[in-house]
């Protein structure tokens, strides 16, 4: 057990570094806005001490995304998951205890689980890439989709097939689109080499425009059949797939600008992950949608300047 103290010291240093990398000013601003929204929203719905939720979320997510899996894998291969679980419990315990004081335990547990939502996309189910028979049909320009399909084939299979069970119950397609919102962030958890970025485009804005086009078209191909079927079977509820497709477009655009605003070639788990987490959370708390919208605009311009060295002046 002598490794615990040095290990915790290293983790503390990593957390401090994560704050610096993510941009502490932006982080504090975002937190303030988030706390305001959540406080207003949860007070109305749950009467919970929501002010504790956000610091816990921020600390946990930063810690989780800075967890440096390679470091853990090399030095603590057997204890890795236990360590992550212990850290999660440690950071969430203040919230949980306060939650138990102010409200029923089940509500606290529910919110505790909800805090895990932003981390869902980074969980990869397949440790080695799965060889899929149809994968060669996907053009290599959609390399993020190809790679993620190999990494999480079962999630994407569920996302694709579940909407067709609309015959059984209307909840299936809705659950599938919620799952898709979570799964999409997984496409952006690894940065490609800069040589992938400047191959076919002459300017950063052109590159981003082409990326939007490619990813939007992929999204449409993936979702339109099920959405049309849904609209055909439930014409009075046609607004549901429309809302989801708008949310999916918005989510992809936010994820893209968030990725390239913090782009550093070949980086795995880059510091933008906390912003992706906030983006996901915002999709499930409608008043928060304004935050990724404005941050998305900011990240777009930041992407342009961040990508500038890889393109012709």
């Amino acid at each position: 057990m002598s490794w615990i103290i040095p290990f915790l010291k290293i983790r503390w240093l990593q957390t401090q570094r994560a704050f610096t990398e993510t941009g502490i000013t932006g982080m504090i601003l975002a937190l303030a806005i988030l706390i305001g929204f959540i406080y207003w929203w949860t007070e109305k719905l749950l009467g919970s001490p929501a002010i504790l939720v956000l610091p816990t979320l921020a600390l946990t997510s930063i810690h989780f995304y800075r967890s440096d899996h390679r470091f853990l894998h090399i030095h603590f291969p057997k204890q890795k998951h236990v360590l992550l679980a212990v850290e999660y419990l440690f950071f969430t315990s203040p919230f949980f205890l306060c939650g138990c004081y102010f409200q029923p335990i089940w509500t606290s547990l529910l919110l505790l689980l909800a805090l895990l939502l932003p981390f869902a996309p980074i969980i990869s189910l397949a440790k080695t890439p799965v060889k899929l028979p149809f994968i060669h049909l996907i053009p290599v320009r959609f390399f993020e989709w190809k790679a993620n399909l190999r990494e999480n084939p079962w999630i994407w299979l569920l996302v694709f097939l579940m909407p067709f069970f609309v015959f059984v119950h209307i909840g299936f397609p809705i659950a599938s689109w919620v799952l898709e919102l979570l799964a999409i962030s997984g496409l952006y958890k690894q940065n490609e080499d800069w040589q992938f970025v400047n191959l076919n485009n002459s300017t950063a804005s052109n590159f981003l425009y082409e990326k939007f086009k490619l990813h939007f078209s992929c999204l449409l191909l993936f979702n339109v059949p099920a959405m049309v079927l849904f609209g055909f079977l439930s014409p009075d509820l046609v607004w549901i797939p429309l809302v989801f497709i708008i949310l999916l477009f918005f989510h992809i655009a936010y994820n893209l600008v968030c990725k390239y605003a913090f782009f550093e070639p070949n980086q795995q788990m880059p510091p933008n992950q906390i912003w992706l987490g906030i983006g996901i959370l915002a999709l499930f708390i409608p008043p928060l949608l304004a935050l990724p919208f404005f941050m998305g605009l900011r990240f777009y311009f930041r992407s342009l300047s961040n990508l500038y060295p890889y393109f012709n002046a």
């Binding site: 320009r141 190809k146 790679a147 191959l199």
Partner: protein
């Protein structure tokens, strides 16, 4: 002609490149030789435009260097995870439909099914070389292209370099493997302390190299032996 005129580059207060002036003939292979940390890689990054020099200008055929018409093979090669070697090459050959992906993969002993994250350093280098081939541009900046290659792959790369020269490509290579520079280059620039020291023909460079290393091995063995005792 690739022209560099009084290039200065610093990281903060640390000067890396000091007044580099070079005129390299187009359609030839030019070598850059120097010790570790002498600034060779930084010079290639400045030429390509990944780093902006504080002073000086760079031109190729009297125009600013276009990243779309230049290939930069870095010393460390990274590719997107969960993509196979064939898919990676397909991505880079997107604008070069005549590039025969399967045949090139076979020449470097790839099956095409290897995932990029499973490749060794040498295999990454080979895939990087193939990507450079697929891009097919008139100016090539190759940073340590021979590092990590097995004997057979070195011979393949030598043949590729000869073919590139025949096709009029302008190539700038850095390498620690001095024999490869002597064998492939039309001119070799020695580089130290962020400055170009001297320009040699391969035969002059070979002679200089022999003179430089005479007696050095014995001296180093003696110093290391003394330290380890």
């Amino acid at each position: 002609m690739l022209k560099l005129d009084s290039i200065d580059f610093s990281y903060g207060n640390t000067e890396i490149l000091k007044g580099i002036t070079l005129q390299l003939e187009a359609g030839k292979i030019h070598g850059l030789a120097g010790l570790n940390g002498s600034g060779k890689t930084t010079l290639l990054q400045v030429i390509y435009g990944l780093l902006q020099p504080q002073n000086g200008s760079i031109s190729f055929h009297d125009k600013a260097i276009s990243k779309n018409k230049t290939v930069f093979l870095e010393a460390a090669n990274y590719f997107y995870h969960r993509l196979t070697t064939k898919e990676t090459l397909q991505f880079f050959a997107f604008k070069n439909p005549t590039f025969e992906i399967d045949k090139w993969l076979e020449i470097f002993a790839f099956t095409g099914e290897e995932f990029s994250e499973d490749l060794s350093t040498g295999m990454r280098k080979k895939l990087g070389i193939l990507c450079a081939l697929a891009k097919d541009q008139p100016l090539l900046l190759l940073d340590e292209p021979f590092n990590g290659l097995d004997m057979e792959s070195v011979m393949v790369l030598n043949a590729i370099l000869k073919e590139w020269r025949k096709r009029g490509k302008t190539i700038l290579i850095t390498s620690h493997i001095l024999e490869t520079l002597v064998e492939n280059c039309d001119s070799i620039q020695t580089f130290a302390g962020g400055r170009i020291i001297q320009s040699y023909t391969p035969s002059e460079y070979n002679q200089m190299k022999i003179d430089f290393f005479v007696g050095m091995e014995e001296k180093l063995e003696a110093s290391v032996g003394a330290l380890m005792n």
